[in-house]
């Protein structure tokens, strides 16, 4: 389903007003310039190509607020875009309007180690923050795979994850406060440097809202001391089932690894053909386990994990003895997506999640789907969180393939929800998965979400048509039969 290319162009009056706010060099409104803002990293076969009326690159909250006011005055949608690495179409201008690109809002404004807090503009690149903190022995824990490119603002919008969520939680667990430009241009702060703010604290609801409630311009994020030591193990298994059971056994033994990643045979072959990371080519599955913390604890847990993995059928367990060896073991995992190009020119990633205990069933189902739909599916994912990432490998030029790929992806997601899971683990809803949400929720649940949307954005200016299923209009308010009390 390819979306229409919106052909509306900005009027000279609007572009002049935008130029007045951010400077003419920071307004993009010509067809060629807007090309880059028509898509993000989602699959255009699903999300389509949508051109905004204009893209602006502000440098301050004040400029964002002025753009929001201007948009409201002209009844135009606004939406935020960080680096455009989103996989669910959250940063695509489905209804045109003004795209606010945060790339120039990239200042790390304050770091306080004793408060374990940093204040950043939301255009800061995720990895840049950790690199900035490293000399002080600190880091920012959420680390999506795209962390070299993705922005903190994009992470906040999608409540992003990464390999280290098992122990450290998702983005929402690392944000203390946010500055938000509301639709209409008012600027508000939620939260603050304290870990908890009784009274009102709407930080938690705006994380993951994909700029449908407002645009986050600054964030006060939690930073952590770098762990003293890390331990990395790689275990080879002769079945995905055995590897999946070993995952649960490790956690059931009271050990919470900082990362627990699984890769299947297809992935191992791709990695070894690509970069020769030294993964066992004959294995059907490998588990990469990372432990972190004080040195003595890491050493003790590393030995216990190695025992558990062997007990649960690991054919071989490699333990990194040096930092270099540890990096080498991670290298394969990090290169996995890039290595898929050796197998097929295109891939479609399904981000879905199941309770960890249901992993063996979920993995068997993935195998069944691959066979039934005659598709090659690679699995490289965050096993510790139960967060699957089946990668369907294909060649877009093969006639009829796209339908098969999307059908298989839908079936996988549906099955994971039946197993007690969710439509997405960490990539967002956007316009890729909004129509899958009814698999989890009913109209009363969507209406609860709609109340939030209407309270924040009464005129539906903030990233319209995202998150909510297309058949559900959050502004079709069910009129109450009871007299409403106006809380003034």
């Amino acid at each position: 389903m390819r979306g229409p290319v919106v052909s509306v162009t900005a009027t000279p009056a609007i572009t002049a007003e935008l130029a007045d706010i951010v400077g003419a060099e920071n307004v993009v409104f010509d067809r060629a310039g807007l090309g880059v803002y028509e898509l993000d990293a989602s699959d255009e076969a699903i999300t389509g190509i949508h051109r905004p009326l204009a893209a602006v690159l502000p440098s301050s909250t004040e400029q964002v607020a002025r753009v929001a006011r201007l948009a409201a005055a002209h009844d135009l949608p606004i939406l935020a875009r960080g680096s455009g690495t989103g996989l669910a179409g959250g940063a695509i201008a489905t209804r045109g309007g003004i795209m606010i690109v945060t790339a120039r809002m990239n200042a790390i404004e304050e770091v306080s180690l004793v408060d374990r807090m940093a204040i950043v503009q939301t255009g800061v690149i995720n990895l840049d923050l950790s690199a900035h903190l490293a000399p002080y022995g600190f880091y920012y824990a959420p680390d999506p795979s795209s962390q070299r490119a993705c922005s903190i603002g994009g992470n906040l919008g999608n409540n992003s994850g990464g390999p280290h969520c098992l122990k450290y939680g998702v983005t929402n667990n690392h944000v203390l406060g946010v500055e938000v430009v509301l639709p209409g241009g008012d600027v508000v702060w939620f939260g603050g440097p304290s870990a908890e703010n009784p009274g009102h604290d709407l930080t938690g609801v705006i994380i993951g809202s994909e700029s449908t409630l407002g645009i986050i311009t600054r964030a006060m994020v939690r930073i952590l001391p770098l762990p003293e030591s890390k331990g990395v193990l790689l275990a080879a298994f002769d079945s995905m089932d055995a590897a999946s059971r070993a995952v649960s056994a490790t956690i059931a033994a009271g050990i919470i690894p900082s990362a627990l990643e699984m890769m299947d045979k297809v992935t191992i072959s791709a990695i070894e053909a690509g970069i020769s990371a030294g993964y066992p080519r004959d294995a059907t599955a490998v588990l990469l386990v990372e432990l972190d913390g004080p040195s003595a604890t890491v050493e003790e847990e590393r030995a216990r994990v190695a025992d558990i993995l062997r007990e649960f059928g690991a054919l071989d367990v490699s333990v990194a003895e040096t930092e270099e060896q540890a990096q080498r073991l991670w290298w394969g995992r990090k290169a996995a997506f890039g290595a898929m190009g050796r197998i097929a020119p295109n891939y479609h990633l399904t981000d879905t999640v199941v309770p960890r205990s249901r992993l063996p069933e979920a993995m068997r189902f993935v195998e069944d789907v691959a066979r039934d739909y005659r598709l090659t599916i690679a699995n490289v994912f965050h096993a510790g969180d139960g967060n699957l990432h089946p990668l369907i490998l294909f060649d877009r030029n093969e006639p009829g393939i796209m339908e098969r790929v999307l059908e298989a992806s839908k079936i996988l997601m549906r099955h994971c929800i039946e197993l007690g899971g969710a439509v997405s683990g960490e990539h967002g809803i956007g316009i890729e998965k909004n129509d899958a949400l009814p698999l989890m929720f009913g109209d009363a649940d969507f209406e609860e979400m709609a109340k939030l949307k209407r309270a924040f954005d009464p005129a539906n200016h903030a990233n319209p048509r995202k998150i909510f299923p297309s058949a559900f209009d959050p502004y079709r308010s069910p009129m109450s039969s009871v007299a409403r009390i106006d809380h003034r």
Binding site: L202, S248, A422
Partner: protein, 388 residues
């Protein structure tokens, strides 16, 4: 308004839904109660027609040992949760005084956790899904039973600390953790607050792995004790305690030292100051003060103006307890913007927003939220920020 206040003690969510629906239709106001441990907190409720006592809605709905997830009804007490989990070697890593009475729903609606949030996060961080009864009596859900879940707005967070203003929590899905082999607390007494705070600051900026770091006032004016909680395996706790002491005393020596093992889920120093049921005739208040500002605030706070004080270095929060005198109340208000009064006896409470109000932009938003979620004002009217 009716003359008598009806007491409802629903034993099922459908019964609660029926009660809510009839209140909605009749325009009656309901006051929702958990264990009553935080009743003194929040603004005074407006007159109401019924009280909904949540204590019978205390069932365990789903517990997966392997997935480290637990779903319970909101009226379940923390000690009942502790007991269930302990039998399987697990626990809910959230501090709260009066665990035998405090309900998980009540604690969530109060938005209060304790110093262990340094390591484990707040209660809001361990909730992965919720079921809420809305003002028209419908059961609604958000989130789920998986630890990573992006599926629409994180609506559970709207209800954290919202004093029930937007709906009645009926179920919470929680992340749980393995029970540590040992919980120990190191106490080091320093010659003044500044030295104790410095010692704490060195610990939170090191690669040590403490659960909680705070300082507590003592009986004598200059008597300040640093409390550091360490949890984990016996060998981990032993080595960390030793290292914490070395780091804490590297600049100035401690006058006294003691180590105690903590029992069950208790955190005595925090429980003592945060237990609002024991605050008869006292003010208990909570100031948002980042660790870097705590020395200034403690310096500005007249020592005669509090009977006990706990500065949670790890979370940036200062708790103060004092006699219920107007001059103390005003003194506290003059030192930090927007102190939150957890316990404030009448007549000091009347006319005051115990949350300290809200900025204009946030206030507008909060009113719109109340209009959307509780248009007929049936839930806990008056208790939330701005008297919403």
């Amino acid at each position: 308004m009716t003359d008598t206040v009806a007491i409802h003690r629903p034993t099922s969510v459908s019964e609660l839904a029926a009660t809510t629906l009839s209140a909605y239709m009749a325009g009656h106001r309901l006051l929702i109660r958990g264990g009553g441990t935080h009743q003194s907190f929040a603004n005074a409720a407006e007159p109401h027609d019924g009280i909904v006592q949540m204590s019978a809605l205390d069932a365990v709905i789903d517990y997966s040992l392997v997935d480290l997830t637990l779903a319970v009804q909101a009226g379940r007490t923390l000690s009942a949760i502790d007991e269930l989990l302990r039998a399987s070697g697990q626990r809910l890593a959230v501090d709260a005084p009066r665990r035998e009475s405090a309900t998980i729903g009540g604690l969530f609606a109060s938005g209060l956790s304790g110093p262990s949030r340094l390591k484990y996060g707040s209660l809001k961080d361990v909730v992965i899904g919720a079921e809420v009864l809305n003002s028209s009596g419908e059961v609604t859900k958000s989130g789920g039973m998986v630890v990573k879940n992006v599926s629409g707005y994180e609506l559970a967070r709207l209800h954290y600390g919202a004093q029930g203003a937007f709906g009645i929590l009926t179920r919470l899905n929680l992340k749980v953790l393995p029970l540590p082999e040992v919980r120990s607390e190191l106490q080091l007494t320093f010659r003044d607050a500044a030295h104790a705070l410095d010692a704490g600051a060195r610990i939170v900026t090191s690669a040590l792995d403490p659960t909680a770091v705070s300082i507590v006032s003592g009986a004598a004016p200059d008597d300040w004790t640093l409390h550091v909680v360490i949890e984990g395996s016996r060998s981990f706790v032993r080595s960390q305690l030793q290292r914490v002491e070395t780091v804490a005393t590297s600049e100035s020596p401690a006058q006294e030292k003691s180590v105690a093992e903590l029992e069950g889920a208790a955190l005595p120093s925090f429980d003592a100051i945060a237990d609002l049921t024991s605050a008869q005739g006292e003010i208990v208040c909570r100031l948002s003060v980042p660790a870097s500002q705590q020395a200034n605030v403690l310096g500005a706070l007249s020592q005669s103006a509090y009977s006990s004080l706990l500065a949670d270095i790890g979370s940036g929060i200062v708790y103060v307890r004092c006699d219920a005198e107007l001059e103390y109340l005003e003194h506290i208000q003059s030192i930090t913007p927007r102190p939150v009064f957890l316990a404030l006896p009448e007549p000091l409470k009347s006319g005051l927003d115990v949350f300290g109000g809200a900025d204009e932009g946030a206030a507008t938003l909060l009113r719109r939220l109340k209009n959307e979620y509780d248009p007929t004002a049936i839930f806990n009217q008056g208790r939330f920020v701005l008297g919403l």
